[in-house]
């Protein structure tokens, strides 16, 4: 890092632009974290693909129990979906404020994101509690087992995303936008948007297609 700043003095730039281009390619390995994190997300994608496959195979095995059409309240799911979608855009706003080096604005948007995520988890837990209360717990049928496995895995990811978010807010409050914190915030950004992508699959494949006759 210090090599870069030492070399990119105004004199060096105007003297030889190609030299500076070389340098900015040189500190690339620093960003290996983002590629590595992307690879982690792709492996996570495979985990979800397996759970989706299980749901796809077992999703119509009701064992004479309730079906998706009996259980799912689509208005609740629409509310949940909009909460998660809104949290995606507010995280995006936090990243934009980070690019402008505004710590306070970033933290405010992160708090909003966390609250929206917590609202999502709250509604999901309410839905689960309601289902279990109605006797439609994971042990009722293969359909409900695979449903709880898939949706709860996504919910767990969001929960850990919120914990990560809180830890990062503490980090940013304490240390500001140091390079490590920027990198962490970008990793969490990818994680958070990735969870929204998985949720698209969940609400389409599980809920919307689940209520079809």
């Amino acid at each position: 890092m210090s090599d870069v700043t030492a070399l990119s003095t105004p004199g060096a730039i105007s003297a030889n632009p190609s030299a500076r281009y070389y340098v900015s390619g040189e500190h690339h390995p620093e960003n290996g974290t983002l590629l590595g994190f992307w690879l982690y997300l792709m492996s996570d994608c495979l985990v979800f693909a397996c759970l989706f496959a299980v749901y796809g195979v077992l999703g119509r095995s009701f064992a004479a129990g309730p079906s998706g059409a009996d259980l799912f309240d689509l208005r609740l799911i629409a509310l949940n979906t909009s909460l998660l979608l809104l949290s995606s855009i507010t995280y995006g706003f936090a990243m934009l404020e980070m690019q402008r080096n505004k710590v306070r604005a970033t933290l405010i948007w992160l708090v909003v994101t966390g609250l929206l995520g917590a609202g999502f988890i709250g509604i999901e837990l309410y839905e689960f509690a309601h289902l279990i209360h109605e006797g439609a717990g994971p042990q009722r049928s293969a359909f409900l087992s695979s449903f709880f496995a898939l949706v709860a895995t996504h919910g767990l990811h969001v929960t850990f995303g919120i914990i990560w978010l809180i830890v990062l807010m503490a980090q940013v409050t304490k240390h500001g936008f140091i390079a490590a914190n920027r990198r962490r915030l970008m990793c969490l950004s990818m994680f958070w948007h990735f969870l929204d992508v998985v949720w698209i699959g969940v609400f389409t494949f599980v809920y919307l297609m689940g209520v079809l006759p």
Partner: protein
């Protein structure tokens, strides 16, 4: 953004001081996020409307429409929120993504295909039918 003549040489860089988010950083813009958000809202609202309003008579038509919108929305998220393009990380992100999509498609379609046929061939009523039909 400086207006020096040497900036276009490394157009991927924002300025001289941004060592924290160098070439690996996505170029997030307010416009990009808003475009993605508006598209996502539309692409979410339509499938919900299609299902909740019973727009199509056949469930298979509804399922296909809903799945189509989901695929489009995933692509929108990838481009506008996850900032995917062929050049990110010198193409390695895209390569990993393509590999993952191939594996996911094989997993999903393979599982559904094999298990559907297995279910079909192990229907309890099937032996019964075979006695009747000929």
């Amino acid at each position: 953004m400086s207006a020096h003549t040497d900036t276009p040489v490394h157009g991927a860089d924002h300025g001289a001081h941004d060592d924290g988010h160098g070439d690996g950083a996505p170029h997030a813009t307010f416009k990009g996020y808003m475009t993605g958000f508006v598209l996502s809202v539309i692409l979410t609202a339509i499938p919900f409307w299609v299902v909740m309003g019973n727009v199509f008579d056949k469930s298979s038509t509804t399922a296909m429409v809903v799945l189509g919108f989901a695929v489009v929305q995933i692509v929108v998220h990838m481009i506008y929120f996850l900032h995917m393009d062929a050049k990110a990380e010198h193409g390695w992100s895209m390569l990993a993504l393509i590999f993952t999509i191939v594996v996911v498609v094989i997993t999903l379609s393979g599982s559904l295909w094999v298990m559907y046929h297995m279910n079909h061939n192990m229907m309890p009523g099937m032996m019964h039918d075979m006695h009747k039909v000929p």
